[in-house]
């Protein structure tokens, strides 16, 4: 590759990859952004190498020595709570000759011993054991041979993020308007936990299609007909419909906020929850009002939020709360990992409704997500059909954007365009 070669120019010779024409209310995205291996390679470096990426939730590692191992931004890392109670994230590779030192997805450990030559590291990453140490000369600095922490790790309200860019802005600045929405979720949930049981699936489609889909109110009715029929069979009255707004939260983050016919375990009762939980939900609601005032409590209890934290974290606070992240493995494929978050001490019948809601709507064995997967793969197949060069995302440009408009996706794409092609937002 020569210094002057710019694949983005090569692939969209007619002009930019993302084109916004406010006068004619037109916003479009070049389909090469979804199919080009060269753009995928650029994204790995310019997007995933220079963003804050979600690692996990602090409740997953409550005790010193607790750890979870997972890829973040396609790199194998693990997150561990050290003896002082701090959260550490390390590259999962022995400083000696490279083997992985954390070999299970979760557990508790005082030391991580590499099985290859038995070098051992404590939960601060410090090298604490080297067999036959006397074989090394005095000049070697073992203090410099610890595990390598990732460049930046910060946590916001229990959500742990990392960045491989040492010079990235702080997490709170990065989150911009999304921080307030995380506050709403966290304050309403109280002592939150990630429920046991992880959804780990994959979609043969470009990862940005899931970024769009996760905050797309427009697709719900046509795509998810069978899910809404199921809700009706449970006795949910859908006649109220879904009404709300979409907005950009800065730095590519965006949210839909809407009222919907279904209940919320915190704290909007519906008959499906059963009479025996009515009092508890009333109490949860009264607590929110007391702590946060009537207006904010109503927002926490009554409205649903689908939020995208750029580039690849989705927090959907619907009846159930999902924490979902996804990562491309090529231009045509992504891996998705999703967890369910809930208040730790919750009435069993409310927990049950929350679990039911998650697995029927958000899970890959449910009545909705498989159809989203089908839609995304169908788009990817459609792109390869050729002929058409552009996707249209103009919906709602001539009005204050509603939850079923596309402003939230435009916010994502503006940020993406700025990061990948250097075009000012």
């Amino acid at each position: 590759m020569t210094a002057t070669f710019d694949p983005t120019r090569q692939l969209a010779p007619s002009g930019p990859l993302v084109e916004e024409d406010r006068e004619h209310h037109r916003f479009r995205v070049h389909r090469s952004t979804m199919t080009s291996p060269e753009i995928h390679a650029l994204e790995l470096e310019r997007v995933f190498g220079h963003s804050w990426l979600y690692v996990g939730h602090e409740s997953e590692i409550r005790e010193p020595g607790d750890y979870v191992r997972r890829p973040v931004g396609n790199r194998a890392v693990f997150m561990v709570r050290n003896k002082a109670g701090e959260v550490k994230v390390f590259h999962n590779s022995c400083s000696h000759r490279g083997a992985v030192v954390c070999r299970k997805d979760s557990g508790n450990a005082k030391v991580f011993q590499c099985f290859y030559h038995a070098w051992s590291f404590d939960t601060d990453g410090k090298l604490v054991g080297v067999p036959d140490r006397e074989a090394y000369g005095d000049g070697l600095d073992f203090g410099a041979l610890g595990l390598r922490p990732v460049a930046r790790v910060e946590s916001y309200r229990g959500f742990v993020f990392l960045s491989y860019d040492p010079d990235i802005m702080g997490l709170v600045d990065y989150l911009a308007g999304a921080a307030e929405y995380l506050d709403l979720v966290v304050d309403a949930t109280g002592d939150a936990e990630i429920i046991r049981g992880t959804n780990e699936y994959a979609i043969d489609a470009n990862w940005k299609l899931l970024a769009e889909n996760s905050i797309d109110g427009y697709h719900a009715v046509p795509t998810h007909d069978t899910y809404f029929k199921y809700l009706v069979s449970l006795g949910t009255d859908l006649s109220g419909g879904v009404a709300g707004t979409a907005k950009s939260l800065g730095n590519g983050h965006a949210v839909l906020e809407y009222a919907a016919p279904w209940g919320r375990p915190v704290a909007k009762w519906e008959p499906l929850f059963g009479e025996d939980s009515r009092e508890e939900i009333g109490r949860l609601r009264a607590d929110l009002v007391e702590k946060y005032g009537e207006a904010r409590a109503r927002r926490m209890a009554d409205t649903n939020r689908n939020m995208l934290i750029y580039p690849n974290l989705v927090i959907n606070d619907i009846m159930a709360i999902t924490v979902r992240t996804f990562m491309p493995t090529s231009a045509d494929r992504m891996e998705v990992t999703a967890w369910e978050m809930a208040p730790r001490d919750e009435l069993p019948q409310l927990r049950q409704r929350r679990l039911d809601s998650f697995l029927t709507f958000l899970g890959p064995g449910g009545f909705a997500t498989p159809d989203d997967i089908e839609a995304l793969e169908s788009c990817q197949q459609g792109f390869h059909s050729g002929g058409l060069e552009w996707n249209d995302l103009s919906r709602g440009m001539a009005r204050d954007p509603l939850a079923n408009d596309e402003e939230q996706m435009r916010a994502f794409w503006r940020q993406w365009n700025s990061q990948v092609t250097g075009v000012e937002r």
Binding site: I195, A202, T226, Q352, P370
Partner: protein
């Protein structure tokens, strides 16, 4: 499609043989592969349960843990109606499947229920794609009016994740 209805007539849960169970499970598999879901669901009791735990939580308890599928009779009926409709986009048109059941073992009867474990391999073909689900079934069977019926079916996946199969839109 009565031709596919499971034949064995059994007298009591304690008299059920492995051959009876195998015939029953093969017939169930045949119904699933034929997409005769209305006949298939009649194999279940009114208080049935069909559960698929998450890959990383094989012991997952649906009352406490997130699972992939946790159907009671009502939800199982919704699943069948969904898959029978043209609006289950992931399964319209339907995949071609081959449910293969083996290593069938009967456990001691508990009350009026016969626990059965078996290994499964479910092949799914759709478009250009071929995927395979591998795992273990745990059934609880009862005898109702001389026929074996499924009170509970749990399909625990042996694969470490769903990355290779994308979803569980079909019935395992």
């Amino acid at each position: 499609m009565t031709a596919l209805e499971p034949a064995p007539v059994v007298t009591g849960v304690r008299d059920v043989t492995r051959a009876d169970v195998e015939d029953f499970l093969y017939a169930e598999a045949e119904l699933l592969d034929a997409w005769e879901l209305d006949t298939w669901i009649a194999l279940f009791t009114a208080d049935c349960r069909y559960v698929v735990p998450c890959n990383d939580t094989p012991e997952g308890d649906p009352t406490r843990d997130l699972v992939l599928i946790d159907d009671n009779a009502l939800r199982l009926r919704s699943r069948v109606e969904r898959l029978n409709s043209r609006k289950a986009h992931r399964e319209y048109p339907h995949s071609t499947t081959s449910h293969q059941v083996s290593n069938v073992r009967l456990r001691p009867v508990e009350g009026e229920e016969l626990p059965v474990v078996a290994e499964f391999t479910v092949w799914r073909f759709r478009g250009e794609r071929s995927t395979t689900y591998v795992g273990r079934y745990a059934y609880r069977l009862r005898v109702v009016d001389g026929h074996l019926r499924i009170a509970a079916k749990r399909a625990t996946l042996a694969m470490g994740s769903l990355r290779q199969v994308a979803d569980v839109a079909i019935i395992l």
